[in-house]
């Protein structure tokens, strides 16, 4: 227990409190700007079991704030990359990585395995899903969200306190609120706010009285101003969710991007007309794809280069393993480009195919 000696000498923690931390199970949804610092402190603090769910991969533009990653983990899944880094920080705890998207299908079973849920997501679809599944499974949610220089933190669904829907009953109109990739965010702000989430988790586990339940803490990193707003519980928001207990999907029209993204096998590309391969790997990635009808737009620059893509072609996005290419399809589709596919299995499939066929 020498690892936790600075905790143990605190009279408010002690051996007993540390034992509680070691017994606790915390699920972190999203290993991004908020998830990374939260995970770092939870791991160091000796939370016994930590789950990390994230389907996304590490991109260079993440490194400005997502402190668990580095150049060696570019292109890797965030849940898996965090687990590797965190196991080095503390190998005595259990870390479960779920390299997938949180959906109305997997959320119930996953939440049941943990005591506290951290919301570190970057979109409203998942935030409302977390809220609703937490109500159904009766788990507290340590929530945070950020915008440029500002952050919000609260604890929802804790000891009969309010939920996220008591604050914002319904998701805002699609596209009306920008996220970090569109408007930017101060890197250190995510560190401050994500660390506050870890702090709230620890307060809950140790049974401290003044948890941020029923309160929304707002912080502005530019002005150093803080404001705490009181939120009241609205029982009808809970009833609305509980009524849909057996029909979670209806409440969350699972417009899961995954289902809208068409994958194609290397073999099947031969059947398509006017095929154009778009390699979305970064320029330093090997091997080079040297085939006809192929060009390169790194995923990090895709949004600025969408004019190079022609919907009249059958556009097949390619990356190392077939994960980033799905993301590329999603981005292209969001910008109105049709006729897009993600190459299943990534570049190696294509190289094999062309060796055989050419």
């Amino acid at each position: 227990m020498n690892r936790y000696s600075r905790h143990i000498i605190l009279s408010e923690v002690g051996q007993e409190g540390q034992a509680k931390l070691l017994k606790a199970k915390v699920l972190v949804v999203g290993a991004g700007g908020l998830g990374c610092p939260a995970l770092q402190y939870l791991t160091a603090s000796g939370i016994g079991t930590i789950g990390i769910i994230d389907f996304d991969i590490v991109e260079e533009s993440n490194l400005q704030r997502q402190v668990l990653f580095g150049t060696s983990t570019l292109g890797k899944n965030k849940a898996i990359a965090s687990k590797t880094r965190l196991e080095d920080l503390n190998s005595t705890i259990t870390i479960n990585a779920y390299p997938e998207k949180l959906t109305s299908k997997n959320a119930l079973d996953l939440f049941k395995k943990y005591d506290i849920i951290i919301d570190g997501t970057d979109n409203f679809t998942t935030r409302y899903l977390i809220n609703d599944v937490a109500i159904l499974t009766n788990k507290p949610v340590v929530y945070a969200a950020i915008y440029k220089f500002e952050g919000q933190v609260s604890v929802f669904n804790y000891q009969n306190g309010p939920s996220y829907r008591c604050l914002f009953p319904n998701p805002p109109k699609e596209g009306s609120v920008a996220n970090c990739s569109e408007v930017g965010v101060l890197g250190v702000l995510t560190g401050i706010i994500g660390s506050m989430q870890a702090n709230e988790v620890i307060k809950i586990i140790l049974g401290f009285r003044d948890v941020l339940s029923g309160k929304l803490f707002c912080y502005n990193a530019k002005t150093s101003q803080t404001t705490t707003l009181k939120i009241n519980r609205n029982d009808s928001e809970f009833k609305k969710v509980l009524k849909q207990k057996n029909n979670l999907k209806a409440l969350h029209e699972d417009i899961s991007c995954e289902t809208l993204i068409q994958e194609i096998t290397a073999e099947d590309t031969l059947e398509k007309k006017q095929v154009m391969f778009i390699d979305v790997r970064e320029s330093y990635e090997q091997p080079e794809l040297n085939i006809p009808k192929c060009f390169n737009i790194p995923l990090s620059q895709l949004v600025d280069n969408l004019n190079q893509i022609n919907s009249k072609h059958t556009n097949i996005f390619v990356c190392q393993s077939g994960i980033r290419s799905k993301k590329a399809v999603r981005i292209a589709q969001e910008h109105g480009i049709t006729n897009c596919y993600s190459l299943k299995g990534g570049i190696s499939e294509l190289i094999q195919l062309f060796k055989i066929k050419i």
């Binding site: 991004g32 997501t121 945070a144 969200a145 500002e150 952050g151 920008a178 996220n179």
Partner: protein
């Protein structure tokens, strides 16, 4: 009375200030919002909640305190 109104996130970009004093003589939060919508038409189609004296209140609430805040949802993480 003179209200002190705080704007958060995107709303502060529309109003071009983090807070301001506004003279208000009507009664409800929704009347206050009409006044602000006239001043800042771009606020009209934004989603946000209103707090009075640091407590989130409904649009029908009577404005009885001078501290008001307009809080939009944030999505970033």
């Amino acid at each position: 009375m003179i209200l002190n109104i705080k704007y958060f996130g995107l709303l502060a970009e529309i109003t071009k200030c983090n807070e301001e004093n506004v003279e208000f003589s009507n009664s409800s939060v929704s009347e206050l919002l009409s006044l602000l919508f006239n001043k800042y038409p771009d606020l009209r189609d934004k989603d946000f909640q209103v707090a009075q004296n640091n407590e989130i209140v409904s649009k029908g609430t009577i404005v009885s305190e001078t501290e008001i805040a307009l809080l939009p949802p944030f999505s970033g993480g």
